[in-house]
Amino acid sequence: MIRFLLLILVLFNCTSFYSQDKVKIDSINKIYVQGLNIPQDSIVALFQKNLNDAETIAYELGMADAYSQLSLVYGYQGKYEESAKNAINGIKIYEKLNKLDRVADYYAEMGYTMKYRDLEKGLYYMQKGKAIAEENDFENELKDIYNNYGVLKEMNHELDSALIFYNKGLKIKLEINDTIGIPYSWSNMAGVYGLQENFLKAREYFNKSLQQRLVWADSLGIAENYTQLGEVFMAEKKWNEAIPLMHKSLPISLNKQYQNLTQYNYKMLSDIFKKLNNADSALYYFEKYSTVKDSVHSLKVQQNISALNIEYETEKKQNEILQQRAQLAEKDLQVRRKNTLIFGSLGLAFVLAFLGYLFYNQQKLKNRQLQKEGELKAALAQIETQNKLQEQRLRISRDLHDNIGAQLTFIISSIDNLKFGFMDISKKLGDKLTNISNFTSQTIYELRDTIWAMNKENITFEDLQARIANFIEHAKNASEETEFSFHIDQEVDKNHLFTSIEGMNIYRIIQEAVNNALKYAEAKAITVYISDDEDEYHISIEDNGKGFDKNLIEMGNGLNNMKKRAGEINGKLIVKSNLQKGTHIRLVFPINS
């Protein structure tokens, strides 16, 4: 009996205990995770213990609920694998227990937690959960499912669709007065309004949600609202208004170890400070973000941090490079300006030098030309003067000859007229008149010679020689019995120039001597010989005539004329004559007379 009673007592106790455990398990499973203000690890430990307890008593529903809570907590912590594992474990039990409402909720929850990692899959699971809930009209689940589904729709940019589902969810929540869920709906709707750029309405709904959550101390929700309000300001580019809101959200998300929100806040802050060109702060928050994200997601964050770091360093380096470039550019500019000045001055100096050279060259050319023109002008003036002088002399000579010659001719003519006009003039008178006539004729001849000599400056030896030869030829023709010879010594300079007076006088002397030899000496041979020594010419006229005694015969006009002519050329006339032997007349005169 006692054993039976003991057994019954033990059974009763066991039952009691078992009942008490289930209640405890249920009560723990019902805890609102978002509102717990204990470390996340503790929450995990709590539900893990709860699960273990449920396993211990094989309380499947409790296990499933515990799995559900664990899935939720791990999801908040970003431990998606753990979250998914727990969710699947929970779903299996719920399906086994035919707890379709839980199944619907689980799928929806699973889909919701996958929204960042795999939106498509997330939508799939959510739709699955929604379908089950709608089919079975699980309003309690549907309120959250609609809300969360709206979130996914929103993420998928189906804003109108998102609003529809949010409103659906809100409607149910309002009906059942889900004071915790209503703020979620408001927040979600506000988000859509924000995306539609209806910022006023967005802020209105976020504030409504925030106020409600503040009442119910929904820490995570409050943190989310702060972040969302900050996002609205960000969308309006009011960066400075957004920052304090992010800073309000951060401590809550950190405290609650709501990793996703924490990393999101950090990311938003990093973006805000980047927009404000505050690279330091931007980098700081991005590092924070990546630290959080790394623990949640893959190592891709490291690369982003590195990239941001690099970007920061690059910007810093670029800034330094720009500064250095600016300094180099300034120095370069100074150098270029100096160079411009120097080269410009050199160039100008070169140009001036070149202009000077051109000018100098031009002047030199002009001077050369002027000199040449001057020489030619001088030569022209000289030759013109000479020409004019000669011409004037010639004209005067000619006029002189014409006048005097005419007068002398008149005299001759008059005398002739006298001689032949008066038949009874005496012989003496006749002879006298004849002498006067001859003298006058001679005067005319001398006048002509003088006039010619006045105009002819010089006569070449060659010319003189030719004239003398011509004269001798005439004499030969006039006196065929007489033998004439004319020689010039080889040593005589044939290029010598005589003045016309010299030439004339030499010729006349020779002419007179030869005529005398022919007329008076009755010579058979007459020789004319020209020679010279160093500084005198010797012209000798020799004949083999009858000669004369100089002491007895008075020098006639011819000989006197010859002496006079010799005197005119600074020479002397030497007359040697021997009776019957001939006469030798020698004219000696200086070469440069």
Binding site: A329, T340, F343, L348, L365, K366, E391, K456
Partner: protein, 100 residues
């Protein structure tokens, strides 16, 4: 210095460098013109001077040549004087084109 200020400073320097380049170019062009223009002008002047000089020389040489030919003609005529004929009228030929 902030990045934006640096960029502004660099931009102004770039403009200054550009203006300096234009200034240098302007100087080069001006110097080139100062070289080319006078060279052309002097070349043209030289040609005209040489041409005028050649004309002057030609006229002078021509005048000299005329004078020389007149002197030569006079000399030739004077050489026609024969001592035996006393033909002074054949020797003294007046050249009327000579203006005294």
């Amino acid at each position: 210095m902030p990045y934006v200020e640096n960029r502004k400073r660099n931009l102004s320097l770039v403009l200054k460098l550009q203006w300096n380049m234009y200034f240098q170019l302007a100087i080069i062009i001006i110097l080139a013109l100062l070289l080319i223009a006078p060279t052309l002008w002097f070349s043209r002047e030289k040609k005209s001077i040489v041409f005028a000089h050649r004309n002057t020389l030609f006229n002078l040489e021509n005048a000299i040549s005329i004078n020389m030919s007149q002197i030569d003609l006079r000399r030739q005529n004077l050489n026609k004087y024969e001592f035996l004929k006393y033909n002074v009228h054949d020797a003294l030929i007046i050249q009327n084109e000579i203006e005294l």
